[in-house]
Subunit: 438 residues, 3 copies
């Protein structure tokens, strides 16, 4: 098997470059054909300003969203990258492959999401909001990567990225455009979809003999501190994540406050349950690194709604409990009974809190009233205009719930197919004894 492993690595020498270069050439061609600057990034902006009757450059969307974009960018590359460095001998793999798949994925996401949402006269017109959405889309791939961390070759990761970005965009289109669902922080589109997709893929790729490398799946002192860098950046910037593409003004402001509150509460219940469920009452670093973030996931859909600060505290508190309990009881169960090997525990951090987020969003939408939102605010918050003019809050709640179901279906079916594709023997699969090692 050692020889076989090396043979595979040797093949990698040609296959990875080939995939990367072919892909990059394809991207250049497609960008050349389709992608142009949107009106706010184009040199014709002066004329645009006049037409739109804007008096100042500060009205450019860049100034509304660029700080949030940068925070999201840090979450994707440093946040997810370092969160996964906890494995004692796979730190480079975690950060490096996360870097590779994200850089690969954002280009494809700009195209896929562009065709669905920013297509005009045969061109995709991009601006800062497209960059944020591309980062979001790739975020769902980073989540799925957490389930298969250390067990796949970089080529398998790239193939998964290609398909997952495609499916993400289709699912997002169904939710946002066909179902007219609100999901600014992506509880459904990013977390529920990404996590169940990744869990399905890792189930299909099940390796019974991974038990032997249990020791490599542990952490060491400094690898845990590196992982805390990832955790803290995700935790601190999550208010930017959930507010990045909300409507200008009160919606962005509100999303940030709700997320801030939810995350604070989540830390306390995570610490409480982590201490309670451990034999010696010591806090478990795995819980602190992961479950403290569940509060951000769980208000992803509802943060821009009038969830209220105390509503956010409740959601955050519950999600911290669910996530921590998940690490202690569900993860071992998933592995032993369902043969789902979930390296980073994304079921606890993204899947369950994502479902909570979808449900909380449906309830918050269904409970909306003109009294709470104001007449104009109500219409603006749910975009009840045009053909949706007559939609009521309870119907909106129903559609929100439908969005959860669609995301789950897309994740299971898509994950099964993509998992099957990844099993094909042409992608330079990693030998079992090389898993979790750089």
């Amino acid at each position: 098997p050692r020889h076989q492993g090396m043979a595979k690595n040797t093949n990698l020498r040609w296959r990875l470059p080939l995939v990367c270069l072919l892909w990059q050439v394809a991207m250049i061609v497609l960008f050349g054909v389709f992608v142009r600057f949107g009106a706010e990034a184009d040199a014709h902006w002066e004329e645009e300003k006049r037409e739109m009757n804007l008096t100042s450059d500060i009205e450019n969307d860049f100034y509304f969203r660029y700080p949030s974009f940068q925070d999201v960018h840090v979450m994707i590359f440093v946040g997810f990258g370092f969160l996964m460095t906890f494995l004692k001998r796979y730190g480079f793999g975690a950060v490096g492959f996360n870097f590779l798949l994200a850089a690969f994925g954002i280009q494809w996401a700009l195209l896929m999401q562009g065709w669905f949402h920013s297509f005009k006269d045969g061109k995709i017109l991009i601006g800062v909001e497209n960059l944020i959405n591309a980062d979001f889309c790739v975020g769902s791939v980073c989540i799925a990567f957490g389930a298969i961390l250390g067990k796949t070759s970089p080529i398998q990761l790239l193939v998964m990225t290609l398909f997952q970005v495609t499916l993400f965009s289709v699912n997002e289109y169904i939710l946002l455009n066909l179902l007219h669902v609100k999901d600014a922080g992506g509880s459904m589109t990013i977390h529920t979809f990404g996590a169940y997709f990744g869990l399905t893929v890792t189930r299909v790729l099940y390796r019974p003999n991974l038990e032997q490398s249990k020791d490599k799946q542990g952490s060491v002192y400094h690898s845990d501190l590196f992982a805390m860098i990832g955790t803290l950046y995700l935790w601190m910037y999550w208010p930017s994540f959930n507010s990045a593409i909300s409507d200008h003004g009160d919606a962005q402001h509100r999303s940030a406050i709700n997320t801030y509150c939810s995350l604070a509460a989540c830390v306390l219940t995570t610490m409480a349950f982590s201490s309670m469920l451990q034999k010696k009452g010591k806090l478990d670093m795995v819980h602190i690194q992961n479950a403290t973030l569940a509060g951000g996931v769980a208000v992803g859909t509802s943060a821009e709604m009038m969830l209220t600060p105390y509503g956010s505290l409740i959601v955050g508190a519950i999600s911290g409990v669910v996530s921590t309990v998940g690490y202690v009881y569900f993860t071992p169960f998933l592995e032993s009974r369902l043969h789902i090997q979930d390296t980073c525990g994304i079921h606890n951090l993204h899947a369950m809190p994502g479902l909570i987020g979808g449900i909380v969003g449906a309830i918050t939408a269904a409970a909306a009233t003109e009294d709470v939102y104001g007449k104009e605010g109500f219409i603006k918050a749910f975009d009840f205009t045009g053909v949706y003019q007559t939609r009521t809050p309870s119907i909106q709640g129903g559609f929100q719930a439908a969005g959860i179901v669609v995301s789950l279906l897309m994740a299971f079916v898509g994950g099964a197919i993509v998992g099957g594709i990844l099993k094909l023997p042409i992608w330079g699969d990693a030998a079992a004894e090389n898993c979790f090692e750089d």
Copy 2:
């Protein structure tokens, strides 16, 4: 003693969860009763905009302060958290407990500060400025944590947080509202108060037998690099800290510039004195990690005033000298003579530079003239309106000085009482031989 230590840890298993959960439930209830979105985060914003005659969403306070808020947020969680990771076997404790107490404290701070400053018709109305102020308040607890790092149980930390946030809010109310003092960067309210509070607490908790664990109080190579992450983030984002809640426009702009200048000068004098006071002329990592930041503390009060760039250089240069000399001479003196065990040296980084900051603020305010500020700028900078219409610069300087005295008194009296409470045998006190160890 080993048995006793374990017994204490076992108790922790129930006490920590209980404290966290009870606290979180209390927060949810109090937020439910009191906390609502302020006008700029509420869905009624469209109506508000019309009433306030605002033409654009960009006028929402979110866009004036959110980037600064995120920088402050990073300072509290990554900055203070990683600054304290230098202990070779207490990295998790530093980052993890800092995370716990900050998440715990910001909720209570939103309420306490809200009752004092944002209370209207029975409700606390919050926006991004409240989030910044809550982070600031918790910052003073992180400072005090630096003095007792490694010597207290998490429950003791939470109890201290509860009381310190309360006292901070009272002190802040006295300074800002009753004395009408300016202190945007918190030299007095955050640093002087936080540091002397923490020093008093650690004095009360004095443990003579800690000498034995001197070896654990050292650092190792990589723990020092982790600490540098904390240092640099504090250093880089300090201009945001001091400008985060200044008035819109020139005041925010000026605060950032003054702080930038002060910090640059502080690095040079710190390096100079660090090299001069070491036997072999080598730079001491402890000084580089801490004293380089004194310049940010020392312009906390005056940064938004017309301190001028060269004034900032002078203040920064002096504070670097004072802080470095403090590490070399004062810290050993405080420990051996006054029995104050100051793990992180907060006396040098926060207490003395905080005092300098208060004094510089008083002088800068007393020296203000209509000529330098302009007629309107003068009134706006010191808010000399309403009942304060007739206050002169020299009177303002006197009140600023009074603010220092009040902060010191609150810190000493409050610290003594809270230290006494923490000595009660019910909080799962850490055994001496477990100190400085995860």
Copy 3:
């Protein structure tokens, strides 16, 4: 030689403090004479607003540029600082000396650039744009530091900083003011100049016996992860770097998008060539840490122009290839044949991509048409007003190309002179056996 080394260190005890303190006093005096707040940071801002007919504080340049400034600030101190921590025994030196020289350099840069660009009625009037430019200027010193990392004393670094900041400012003045060249992201002024300056200096300081310390020039596991922190922050924030001082509105927006695209493509081609050129097909951490950033350097001049997203992908893809090939083939060649010891490989990351950036900028400028930019946009983008009213795109392209040549000449001549000065035996030169060691 050991004795000699210690003697030198002992001298350092007095020389470093002396240099730092004298310098700081000089800065205070010069700032006192020359530096004042610009109109947007001065307390007279209310009057200024009225005069400029501005209706809102949000029009203050602070809100256009401060978020970008903070990102640039992180790049200089954490980005460059941690990128250089890869050496296994020189982590403190990398971060610490980078910190020292940058804090030292920004003060001098504020003065030098101020005299050239912000001088009015005998005073230098500063605002947030000056802070960004000072960071930029120091960035070029950080780049040059990469070539001599581990081989020079801190005093030599400070002397180099003093001269390099001066030369940078002169070169920048020639390019921006005399040649009227566009270079917002500094491909020419920052990267080409900084890198060739540093390479010339390291050539002059050539030490034949450094071969013996080859083992210290390697990395260890965790030092490579620290370096990845530097890499990722540079990579993520590069869109802010290239857009920080572009014109308000579309130009800032466009710069960020172009840089984002270029960097994404660069990651893929870097990974491809890194894998292809390694014997076992494994990715080389040195390439991932450095060559992935070449895409940001290579669009530094053209990012604010209508380079278009696909143009950016092409530039990024090419620069990744060039940079990676450089690490594999050019660096060994430079060392063995030309006696240029380039510790961090700045020739591959900054010099060659900087040249590419200058050339791409010249071509993009020469290819500009009123059709693509719009009539107003065309004039605004290249500032074809006043005496430059009649300049055509092709002439502008010629001047852009001239800017590359001037930058190279300044770097070679300046680097040779400064290298000669650094060879003088008065700066506490490090003994060869102490190189690459803290």
